[in-house]
């Protein structure tokens, strides 16, 4: 990894800040809980004393999941996955988002974020994204966003990115799991990438710059393992499309995909 000491320091600061914020918020929540609890506290009682059964229930949880691990067309591939560790409220998440198409690495992101449960269906996340792809200048972004489920069970991620040079970007991802049968799902997916400015080297333009859509048919062999086939379509639009045309590149591509989804 080509990371300067300076970026390393930023990562550490951001993560420490996020964790501290989280811990403080959690403490506040606990105090609030106890404050509102109408049962009176008695002398010498320890709230949450381990009663055997209770201890097992409160251990931190570590989860590794690969949402996409796939071949895209003849010369492409994608890996999207994350590892999370934490308790019911606070988690640290490491994420990888890698895409390769037409012989080029289009996306190669490493994320390190703090995630906090804020409602029944939603998590707040804040952290850091590091881009590694060779074709562009590596960039470091602060990421702040929300991930969760909308009414009607639409899974959604909305993340705002800020770079030190003032660049901004916004990504909106949505996915829906339509059960065709107990073990067969059709999963449509949409990703929109917006930018605050033009960036000819990166091939992005201000406003809506890039759209990815996909449709995958999953077969659940095991609740944790589902191979799939599908199609993936992506196109650049607006200013980004103009840049692409100037370079003589195609503005869209449609490829078949084959892969699997797995978690532990």
């Amino acid at each position: 990894m080509k990371r300067t000491p300076h970026t390393k320091a930023t990562v550490i600061i951001v993560v420490t800040l996020c964790l501290q914020l989280g811990v403080q918020a959690a403490k506040a929540q606990n105090q609030q809980d106890q404050h509102h609890s109408f049962q009176s506290r008695s002398e010498g009682s320890v709230a949450g004393e381990d009663h055997g059964m209770v201890g097992e229930g409160d251990k931190p949880v570590a989860k590794l999941s690969l949402d996409q691990f796939e071949r895209r067309g003849m010369n492409g591939a994608a890996i999207e996955g994350d590892f999370s560790y934490g308790d019911d409220v606070n988690k640290v998440v490491l994420e990888v988002d890698f895409e390769r198409g037409g012989g080029e690495t289009e996306k190669n992101e490493r994320w390190l974020v703090y995630s906090r449960s804020i409602s029944k269906d939603w998590n707040f996340l804040a952290g850091f994204r590091h881009d590694l792809q060779r074709e562009t200048t590596s960039r470091n972004w602060l990421a702040i966003g929300l991930a969760g489920e909308t009414p009607y069970s639409l899974e959604m991620d909305a993340v705002l990115f800020l770079a030190r040079n003032g660049s901004t970007a916004f990504r909106l991802e949505g996915e829906y799991d339509a059960k065709l049968a107990e073990k067969v799902s059709l999963v449509p997916r949409l990703e929109l990438n917006f930018f605050g400015q033009n960036d000819e080297i990166a091939g992005s333009g201000s406003g809506l710059s890039q759209i990815e859509t996909g449709l995958r048919l999953l077969y659940e062999i095991h609740p944790k393992f589902s191979p799939y086939i599908g199609v993936h379509h992506e196109r650049v639009v607006g200013n980004a499309a103009d840049f692409a045309r100037e370079e003589g590149e195609k503005v869209y591509s449609t490829v078949w995909v084959i892969g699997f989804r797995v978690w532990f």
Binding site: D33, Q34, S42, H51, M53, S153
Partner: protein, 582 residues
Amino acid sequence: MTKPPRCGSVSRRTFVTGIGAGMALLGLPGFPNPARARVPPPTTLTGENFSLQVDQRAVNLTGQPRNAISVNGSIPGPILHWREGQTVTLNVLNQLDKNTSIHWYGIRVPNPMNGVPGLNFSGIRPGENFRYRFKVKQSGTYWYHSHSGFQRQQGLYGAIVIDPAGGDPVTYDRDYVVLLSDWSDESPQQIYSNLKKDGHYYNRRRHRTTTDLWRDVRAKGIEQTWRERHPWNFAGMSDRDVSDVTGYTYSYLINGQTPEDNWTALFAPGEIVRLRFINASAMTIFDLRIPDLDMTVVSADGQNIQPVRVDEFRLGTGETYDVVVKPSGDRAYTLFAQAIDRGGYARGTLTPAQNLSAEVPPMDPIPILDKRDMGFIRAGGARAADRQPTAEEQNAKLAPAGLGSNSPIVHQPTEKGHGVALRARAPQNGVDDPGVGLREHQQRHNRRILTYKDLRSLTPSLDRRQPQRELQLHLTGNPARYLWSIDGVKYKNATPILLAYGERLRITLVNDTLLTQPMHLHGLWSELETGDGEYLPRKHTVMVQPGAKISYLVNADNRGRWALHCQMLYRTYGIFREVRVV
């Protein structure tokens, strides 16, 4: 079925379940087919001194060799046969490499004998021998289990049968323990971890598929289908979420035997058989029936009740019912216990001859939750009473003993955030409701289904005092994240509920979830308010139905640190409160 007390006439009665494998070979009843038995059946221990060894043992219930926890080598552990008035001494030796404990479920014991680690008891360390000693002040059917970690899921449970000091008001010729449990080849830690990562992991049939949708649209039209589906889909919930750990991982056992093993009980023609049903499972609610055989329920949670004739009853986790039957001598009968989610069943046979068995009926359709079970709004929506009760409400006159709560339902300010998915808008009193999936049986099959309203104590209520105050507790949770709590506060962050010694109060439980929650109170009776204050049935476990409320009276007549918790093993850590009688 009641008759005048019959003193000490044990001779005619044969207490049979599990006397030893040797007896099975002699053709005595109450055993699985010995050729197929994969777990040693429990023996029966009597007397005043008991030695119990908790140890690991290899089992093979599904074709997969696994490790389980046994008591004296068997799963379930031995049946402990006591007599009311006796002082029993139980030496429990821990041969495991981790702490263990035994909790005497439903038995009123002095607080340090209750066996709940952390509550005036420190658990039994590896290699340690702990001596429990207490006077038996009650009679009936009870059970015991480990209150440490997830050991109950691994087999540490067994039955307790206590003969009354006087005569038994129930007439019977034979006596069988029918202990129901759930077994998984996955470790309990694995099950819990799967739930934490995906709360719906084991409910593989929760989704309505496109095929279902198409069928509904054709049958009901688009508008009606939309009207039915909308509230569920909008909230991202399923109307099939009746169970969170299911037959997807569980095999259901009767006295440790799988449906294929077919635990078998013998009777002679003309005999009256008493069946002592115990739900010792970790996570399963059973619906029980014996096709073609009338059942008369004579006791609930060990306490005699006025006999009720039923065709089917729901047995919540931790509950016990004693049932008497009079089978006709020319055929066999199937004991059929379907899991509430219909993902599997436990099965046994009641037969006049060892080689005779009866047909196993098909399982009923998956129960579908309806508006009554929902009785819910989404968190954050319009609210009935989301605030502290006013002084006026708190001082309002309580409804008379027996009728249950008439107080307003108040959602505490803590009932919000990521751990609370729902709040009941207008919870109904659950005593007269057979429950989800069983209402249809009443209508469709004309079966007589037991409801809590049918339970009336055989003897008048001992304490006629009115409740002096009322405590309203809401059972809350977010099943997707697998978070559980009372009033939105999980046990870890909660303070004990204080009861003054001698006081009589009403506890009202409101279920703000879609799952039926069996709630167990240690050390004190839960006198269920089923409508008649004169004959309150005394229970130790009360099922709170989804979107419903239920009330019981409690006499704080046993000092110490007790527990009030959900008996569902993987929800216990959150839905748990210490109840301290001082």
